[in-house]
Subunit: 195 residues, 2 copies
């Protein structure tokens, strides 16, 4: 209860290491979840990939389900995705997705495309996607059919992620980010309104 | 060499059964490939799902690789997807994808989103997607940057498939097909030109 939640450059080494380790465990679980069905992923596989012991994962996350419920969350990513005024949001979302692809080789939003492979956990992923991404965007829109328009704009964005990061389109990958923003953002913004 | 390739309503029962069985084997392989990595799928698993014996699969397809090379092809699907004049192609593609979702619960084009899970076979899937879908569409476009515009229009379409069929957006699934066509097709057509 006394641990501050803000970033602390001067945090003691022990606490900073714990944060790094947690992040590494989450990254390992996320990596495996993008490639295997949830039921097939063992704690040991996550531990091996993160370079820690299975008991350490249990210490930080309690059990496999609580670990994966964090991996299934979009909460940590959606703030940055939606961080722009509504009139500029289409351009911001397209640029944000493309920079994720070019700088980190992936975008957290794209995890939703693997939902069919995750069994019951796929339903959690879909429910989180709806409440944490679509509903949050819809709440910012004015005018009728905000929910539908939020889904269609996020869908348009996901399509760019698929053609860039999954189908790996040669033309789109050879094009400057800002040119793709110019070409693609109007379609996203048209659903958001205030174009 | 003497087997005609056209459909024959009057084909003898034996040949018609062979066609049905081939289709069932392909359907089983496609189903499994949308849920498991290629390396993890055994011929026996395909045979069990199709209700045939593994040797029968070998008789029809030679080996597992030739079977999966057919499963990885978009050739059989792209003709119907692109079967419209250029000026109406955006609406046609959106309607085609939505009817696939509402009538058959899936669209063959969406197989591309599982490419990351398929290892080397994923590269085949990507190469087929490029040559059989993107390049074929690009060849019909006029004006500059046809390849880039083909990728962006197909990407837009895939995004609708993801939000409808994978994220299972509640709003989009509660909306009439023709209303989604009205709202979404302009974004696809804008990339194709001749809007």
């Amino acid at each position: 209860m006394t641990t501050p939640r803000t970033a602390e450059p001067s945090a003691p080494p022990g606490r900073r290491d714990a944060r790094t380790t947690r992040a590494e465990i989450l990254r390992a679980a996320r990596y495996l979840l993008a490639r295997h069905a949830h039921a097939d992923i063992t704690l040991k596989a996550v531990a091996d990939r993160a370079g820690v012991s299975p008991p350490l994962i249990l210490k930080y996350f309690g059990n496999k389900d609580t670990l994966f419920s964090q991996v299934m969350s979009f909460e940590a990513d959606v703030g940055a995705l939606l961080d722009a005024p509504l009139a500029e949001l289409g351009r911001h979302m397209v640029r944000h997705l493309l920079l994720g692809q070019t700088e980190r080789g992936a975008d957290p939003l794209l995890r939703i495309v693997f939902a069919p492979l995750q069994g019951e956990q796929g339903d959690i992923l879909r429910a989180n996607f709806r409440s944490q991404v679509v509903d949050r965007l819809a709440a910012r829109l004015t005018g009728p059919d905000a929910g539908l328009r939020a889904e269609l704009s996020v869908g348009t964005l996901l399509g760019l992620g698929v053609i860039y990061g999954i189908a790996r389109g040669a033309h789109v990958r050879a094009t400057e980010v800002e040119e793709i923003v110019d070409r693609y953002a109007p379609a996203v913004q048209a659903q958001l309104g205030e174009g």
